[in-house]
């Protein structure tokens, strides 16, 4: 069973997303900011991380950069999520090291497709 780490500061979004993913059979762990996200990635070793980009303490871009710089976590695929519909957000997220990107509010089927695509291989694609 794949384990997904959701890093999201908004409580409702975190709760909703984790419950919906849990309903689909994923094991879900959560973190509320970038730093906690880094810690959770180290300790929980998830198969995939859903990373909100606008986070307190340490933002998602920085957290992703650090994840990708650490040998222990750099193979975990990261999907960046932003509420901005700015065209540049995608590039910015990809530049930070995200493996994929989606906008909020999430369209669950689309997000699931992306998750499955990234987990589809050995779970360490990217």
């Amino acid at each position: 069973m794949a384990k997904i780490l959701i890093v999201e500061d908004n409580e409702m979004n975190r709760d909703m997303l984790s419950r919906r993913l849990a309903r689909r059979g994923y094991a879900v762990v959560t973190a509320v900011d970038g730093e906690q996200g880094l810690v959770a990635a180290e300790t929980e070793r998830p198969d995939l991380i859903l990373m909100d980009m606008s986070l307190p303490v340490m933002d998602g871009w920085e957290a992703t950069r650090r994840l990708k710089a650490e040998s222990a976590t750099q193979t975990i695929p990261v999907i960046g999520l932003t509420a901005h519909a700015m065209t540049g957000d995608r590039d910015k997220a990809m530049a930070a090291g995200c493996d994929d990107y989606d906008t909020k509010p999430v369209e669950l089927p689309r997000l699931l497709e992306k998750i499955e695509a990234l987990l589809g291989g050995s779970g360490t694609s990217g």
């Binding site: 908004n10 409702m12 979004n13 909703m16 997303l17 419950r19 919906r20 309903r23 950069r65 990708k68 710089a69 040998s71 509420a83 901005h84 519909a85 065209t87 540049g88 590039d91 910015k92 530049a95 930070a96 090291g97 909020k104 509010p105 999430v106 669950l108």
Partner: protein, 774 residues
């Protein structure tokens, strides 16, 4: 060149005269009149001179006539006297003597006329007197009957005198004639000179009058041109420059007025600009703030729907669907408003690429078929077999087509919705037609305006945001194309989008991808900070602070310069003032953030304004208010000029490692620690190469020298810069040994370890990840 400058000076001087325009014109007129008077007087004087000379000539002529008479008289007297003497009778002799006397009177009278020839005349008179004496003697001799002696005397004494007199009178005439000729010559010369003088004077006067006229006109026309040019610039939106005219007349007042107006307009413009930016920023913020709760509304309703389905609670499904649909609708509205505000703020970017039309049509079909089917409509696609590609913005074209097809499906019941593609030579038309309710002329008129569906009741009946067509029209125009519509109420509508196949507008060319424009190679690896501020003192202050921190600095004094310098030098960080003429800081920020090659550069807004929220929402990294706190600015730059990676500290002394860690932490570097050479190699084996290795020499286990030797055998690591940090007193031989392999040697216990470290690390090349991001 000098002439032109002088000319300019004179014109400026005239403009600067503190008189009113009509006074200046009157003065110029009077000056010209005065010149005319002077020219006239000069001419009159010349005329007088000519007249005097004429009188003189007439006098000379008379004199010559008189002399000729004397000459003639002399000859005839001498002849007559000679004849009378030969005749030898008393009557003839008396008559000759009488006439001789008469001639003497004439000679005396002549002396009054001919003052100039007094000397000659004197000699004639002398000769005459002697001649008269000789003749009297001859006559006496004749009368005394002594004829032979008389003949003798006549021949020997009278004849030479007569000859002399003849010669002298000839001389008299000749001299007078010569004088006259000289007089005529002199007169002609004088006339010529006078004529030249008058002509030159006249030409000079005309030139002066023209110059005066020109100077006056230019002193008036100059400011008009200047003001005109300024007004044109104002019309183009440039409020920064002032009209500078030297005039202290009505034009000076006009210029001052224009300047004042310009200033006020400029201030107003800036306010409007700022307000518009605030609006955009507000909308961007709002949309973000609105999306977050919407996210929850939509997500939870979807989740509840799933749960209701699973647990068989079907009676809740329709209501949950309504909540979700309402949420989605609200989301679309927000998206549309954001799109429109971005379009209106000029911040909508285009991403041009080759678009495969066949694939695009298939995508559209998959989305539209269910939409059309929900209204009981048939959806047809008509397109030629050979469909090429279109160089355009795929997302915007797709969104436009979906807007039109969505509308067509919405406003048509049990009819037909169609998409037809027609390829022309250099353009492609997308024709969306339906057999729906259509529109009246009046509805067509306000079709493409924001928030104006054909009819207010339409919104209630058919839903939709009313923004779709306005956005679609903007998109088509941005892509260099157009949209047209034909419709008949009750019979359906046809929308046609026509786009050029190749030529997207040049100004909207997709920015070069980052990889295609590598950073220019620079030897100096210190991070580059660009300081943008229009006010020289504050710019210099900022630059000085930044330099003191050990960075390289480039300065830009306005927004346009900032953008071009940023493109040229790709600074590592930018400090940006907001209130600048022409392109202000918000505009520069927006431009930077919309440029793929520049958007990753951190921008610190440094301003007197207090718009932190706007700054951050427009993409600024940090926000510092003026007056600038040095320490804070330095800290912010340090935080944001990413060291870009890790420094491996190899030292057996934990105190030393701690000290270095504290210093480098502040500079944004990640620290890895190793206690000796072997430990360091273990770390290297398990991690990405660090940006730098800070190496102690004296360590237990593998020491610094051994480590350096060993790392030379590892090609993957030997290029990592190594800096020696040591307490050891190094000998010359050791220094030489180290010099080839290390970048710098820092002595422990140096007074300013922080400063030395900072200077060393800011010179490091940025790591690969930083390069890609920057």
């Amino acid at each position: 060149m000098i002439g032109r400058r002088l000319d300019k000076r004179v014109i400026e001087a005239v403009a600067h005269l503190p008189f009113r325009v009509q006074t200046k014109l009157l003065l110029a007129f009077l000056a010209i009149v005065a010149l005319l008077v002077v020219v006239g007087a000069a001419g009159l004087q010349v005329l007088t001179g000519v007249n005097e000379r004429t009188v003189e000539l007439i006098r000379s002529e008379r004199k010559i006539a008189a002399y000729r008479q004397v000459q003639h008289d002399t000859t005839s007297q001498l002849y007559r006297v000679t004849s009378a003497l030969l005749a030898n009778d008393n009557r003839s002799l008396d008559s000759a003597l009488r006439q001789l006397n008469q001639f003497g009177y004439d000679l005396e009278r002549l002396q009054f006329v001919a003052k100039d020839e007094g000397e000659l005349l004197g000699r004639v008179k002398q000769d005459y007197d002697r001649f008269v004496a000789v003749i009297n003697k001859v006559v006496e001799l004749i009368r005394g009957g002594n004829v032979a002696e008389a003949r003798e005397a006549q021949l020997k004494e009278a004849q030479p005198l007569a000859n002399s007199m003849e010669r002298l009178t000839n001389q008299l005439v000749n001299k007078a004639e010569a004088d006259m000729v000289a007089g005529i010559d002199a007169s002609e010369n004088a006339y010529r000179t006078a004529k030249l003088d008058v002509i030159l004077f006249a030409i000079g006067s005309i030139a002066f009058a023209l110059l005066l006229g020109r100077t006056i006109s230019w002193s008036l026309v100059g400011p008009i041109n200047e003001i005109d040019a300024r007004l044109s610039r104002i019309a183009e939106g440039d409020f920064t420059q002032r009209v500078a005219v030297p005039n202290r007349d009505e034009f000076g007042a006009l210029a001052a007025n224009v300047n004042r107006t310009c200033e006020q307009l400029g201030a107003l413009y800036q306010q409007l600009e700022a307000a518009s930016q605030h609006k955009s920023a507000f909308l961007a913020n709002m949309s973000h703030e609105l999306r977050t709760p919407l996210n929850a509304v939509i997500g939870y309703s979807e989740m509840l729907q799933e749960m209701a389905e699973d647990e068989g609670l079907d009676q809740f499904l329709p209501d949950l669907a309504k909540i979700r649909d309402a949420g989605r609708h609200l989301l679309n509205l927000i998206n549309d408003i954001l799109d429109l505000s971005k379009i209106e703020a000029g911040k909508m970017d285009l991403y041009l690429e080759e678009v495969d039309l066949k694939a695009l049509v298939e995508e559209v079909r998959s989305i539209v078929v269910p939409l059309a089917a929900s209204g009981g409509n048939r959806f047809d696609i008509v397109c030629p077999d050979q469909l090429g590609t279109l160089y355009t913005d795929r997302t915007k074209l797709k969104q436009s087509l979906l807007n039109l097809l969505g509308n067509a499906s919405k406003f048509t019941q049990a009819g037909r919705v169609a998409l037809e593609l027609r390829a022309g030579d250099d353009e492609v038309s997308f024709i969306v037609s339906d057999t729906g309710i259509g529109m009246t002329e009046e509805q067509l008129g306000r079709l493409f305006q924001a928030f104006s569906q054909a009819d207010a009741s339409t919104t209630r009946r058919y839903g939709g945001t009313g923004l779709g067509l306005a956005i679609t029209k903007h998109f088509c125009e941005m892509l260099g194309g157009r949209i047209t519509v034909e419709s008949e109420s009750g019979a359906g509508s046809t929308f046609t989008i026509t786009l050029p196949t190749e030529s997207a507008p040049a100004m909207l060319e997709a920015p070069e991808p980052v990889a295609a424009t590598p950073r220019p190679a620079i030897d100096d690896h210190r991070a580059l900070v660009m300081v943008v501020d229009d006010d020289p003192p504050s710019r210099e202050l900022l630059a000085a602070i930044v330099r003191r921190e050990g960075y390289r600095v480039i300065e830009a004094s306005d927004g346009e310069a900032a953008l071009s310098l940023a493109r040229e030098h790709r600074p590592d960080i930018i400090t940006l003032d907001v209130l600048m003429p022409r392109l202000d800081g918000w505009a520069v920020l927006a431009a930077l953030k919309s440029d793929v090659g520049l958007r990753e550069i951190p921008v610190i807004i440094v301003t007197v304004l207090a718009d932190r929220g706007i700054a951050l929402s427009l993409g600024a990294t940090e926000f510092i208010t003026k007056p600038v706190d040095r320490a804070r600015l330095a800290a912010v730059i340090r935080e944001n000029v990413r060291g870009g990676g890790t420094v491996l500290v190899v030292d057996d002394d934990p105190e030393s490692r701690n000290l270095v860690r504290r210093h480098l932490d502040k500079l944004g570097w990640t620290i890895a620690e190793a206690t000796d050479g072997g430990d360091a190699f273990e770390w290297l084996a398990g991690n990405l190469p660090p940006a730098m290795i800070l190496l102690d020499l004296m360590m237990p286990g593998m020491d610094g020298f051994a480590f350096l030797h060993e790392i030379g055998n590892h090609p993957e690591w030997r290029d990592i810069p190594v800096v020696i940090l040591t307490a050891k007193q190094l000998g010359a031989a050791e220094r030489e040994l180290l010099a080839g392999r290390t970048r710098e040697i820092i002595e422990k216990g140096a007074d300013d370890l922080a400063g030395v470290l900072r200077r060393t690390v800011v010179r490091l090349p940025r790591s690969k990840s930083a390069l890609a991001a920057g």
